[in-house]
Amino acid sequence: MLPFILKRLGLALLVAFTVSFISFSLLFLSGDPAAALAGETASGEDIEAIRRIYGFDRPMLVQYGDWLFSALRGDFGESYYFKLPVASLIAERLQVTMTLGVCGILFALLTAVPLGVVAAIRPNSLIDRVALFLSVAGQAMPSFWFGLILIVVFAIQLGLLPPSGAATWRHFIMPTIVLGYYAMPAIMRLTRAGMLDVLGSDYIRTARAKGAGETRVLFKHALRNAIIPVVSLAAVQMGFMLGGSIVVESVFALHGAGYLAWESIARNDLPTVQALILVFSMFYIVFTFLADVLNAWLDPRMRSA
């Protein structure tokens, strides 16, 4: 188990390192960040001054090294727009995004797993068809549009929920549904396929043959095994969702890290954008690492991979 964890950890660190380099160098795509920062009306001297102040006149690798070592100490520089340390800005905004992400994945799991299980127990039944419809529709649903429809129906027409903001738990209901629905189809399909697979296996037949009750067979024997891949998928989806929350946060004007990303991109706030790309990537890397370790712990066969 320990060699597996160490190997996997090494890989995660290497991925993190590569991602940090890419997210840093992405912002040099424009050619001259100083010119971009100074704006279109700036004179040559202004641009030159900005270049020196922000250190853009140094070689890119030196700038990257500098940035990386500061980032390792938790210092991502100062936001061009907010004039605040990027790290504290992101830390403050992450609360909203994390709340949304956790609620979203819980919503997805609590709807997708039961639906997937029932759909697998009764294939081609009405519930199976409803589950299939929900997952097919979910994969085609533009999340910004789904969010706007919910606002029109529940906030404007019915007046049940607040349309935007993050003041109370009621503000999180619609964003949770939109973000959770995005992750639901994949989880449901995997649960259903896993359950169907397991239910056809020999040890389930044995469990039934020795007279175990149906509930016991389904939950103790079948679901326990079918749920293993779902755990790692949920972790991956959680990472995707945090990255995808940018759309949902902008629809519902939730001032989380995704909204911050949108604001900073629109305002050319390079240090904030770089830091946010890195932070969202780190979440994904940490989640997938934890999922792999958890998987290896649950299923020893995975440890050789």
Partner: protein
């Protein structure tokens, strides 16, 4: 010898694999539905200049936000007009061009990148495989929407930039699926046979591997095309994708959002069309998978 009761000749007279595939495809309702809708929308996009009742860019400040015909409007503007008085139906029709073009070209670019990586990883294994798997991991760790938004913002939102950015970001699923498919095919006897007679690697890949993983490739192409279309709409909705006045469905939703309180149809119509297109492409992709790999159905 050619007696009809002879078991050997009967086998030969049976339906060919192609005919069996066709029969399976025609029985698959979701596939037929998806294909019909996609073909219809492709036709609409191609014939846009003929079908659109108005110029999609022509503004008419006297005719702003005319209601659609089913909400008390007139047939002059069947789906009404937007906040600048532009005919909504015409913009929708031209918007199909934007979505389909972005979806198709982005899927093509990412398909070439991902297939090359996946097939190389699956065929050569070892270090090549390790490097490709690592690159896939790196790519998956980068948040797509965020990176795409940032790059489009830096380079400026034009159709070309959006297509290239999405094409360079969406190759991961191609690489994963093509790698797995190649790994499976690689162990088959006919690949070994080709190696034994001394066929070159490019020849083996092109004539032995590719034809046998082509079905899987087509499925991923459709699914990634849908993915690219949804992402373009999201980028345009956030104001950092295709720029106005280009008629993009995501942009239309975004422009209608401000009037959503009074004129919700401005948001509902383009979003619904987007939903139907993506749904149809996905149904087509899922259907193709069912039909071409009937043994893998669950």
């Amino acid at each position: 010898m050619t007696d009809a009761t002879d078991p050997l000749s009967r086998e030969i007279e049976g339906p060919s694999p192609r005919q069996m595939l066709k029969a399976r495809a025609l029985k698959h309702k979701a596939l037929i539905f998806g294909m019909t809708v996609v073909l219809l929308l492709v036709l609409i996009a191609l014939l846009a200049p003929v079908l659109a009742p108005h110029d999609p860019y022509e503004q008419s400040l006297m005719n702003r936000m005319v209601k659609p015909v089913f909400m008390g409007g007139t047939w002059e503007h069947p789906l009404g007009t937007d906040h600048l008085g532009r005919d909504y139906l015409s913009r929708l029709i031209y918007g199909a061009r934007v979505s389909l073009l972005i979806g198709a070209v982005a899927a093509l670019i990412s398909g070439v990148i991902g297939t090359a990586m996946g097939v190389a990883a699956g065929y050569f294994g070892g270090k090549v495989d390790a490097v490709v798997t690592f690159l896939i991991n790196v790519r998956l760790a980068m948040p797509v929407v965020l990176v795409a938004l940032a790059v489009v913002a830096i380079l400026g939102g034009s159709l070309t930039v959006v297509i290239c950015v999405l094409g360079l970001l969406l190759w991961d699923r191609f690489a994963v699926v093509m790698r797995a498919s190649t790994l499976q095919v690689r162990r088959r006897d006919y690949v070994a046979a080709a190696q034994v007679i001394g066929a070159s690697t490019p020849r083996i890949v092109l004539t032995e591997i590719m034809p046998n993983i082509f079905n899987n490739l087509i499925v991923v192409v459709t699914l990634e095309m849908a993915h690219a279309i949804l992402l373009e709409a999201a980028l345009s909705f956030l104001g950092l994708g295709v720029q106005p006045p280009t008629p993009s469905w995501g942009l239309m939703v975004s422009e209608g959002k401000n009037m959503m309180l009074f004129e919700p149809w401005l948001v509902l119509i383009p979003g619904a069309v987007l939903f139907v297109l993506v749904l149809a492409i996905n149904l087509m992709g899922d259907g193709l998978r069912d039909v071409t790999a009937p043994e893998g159905r669950s």
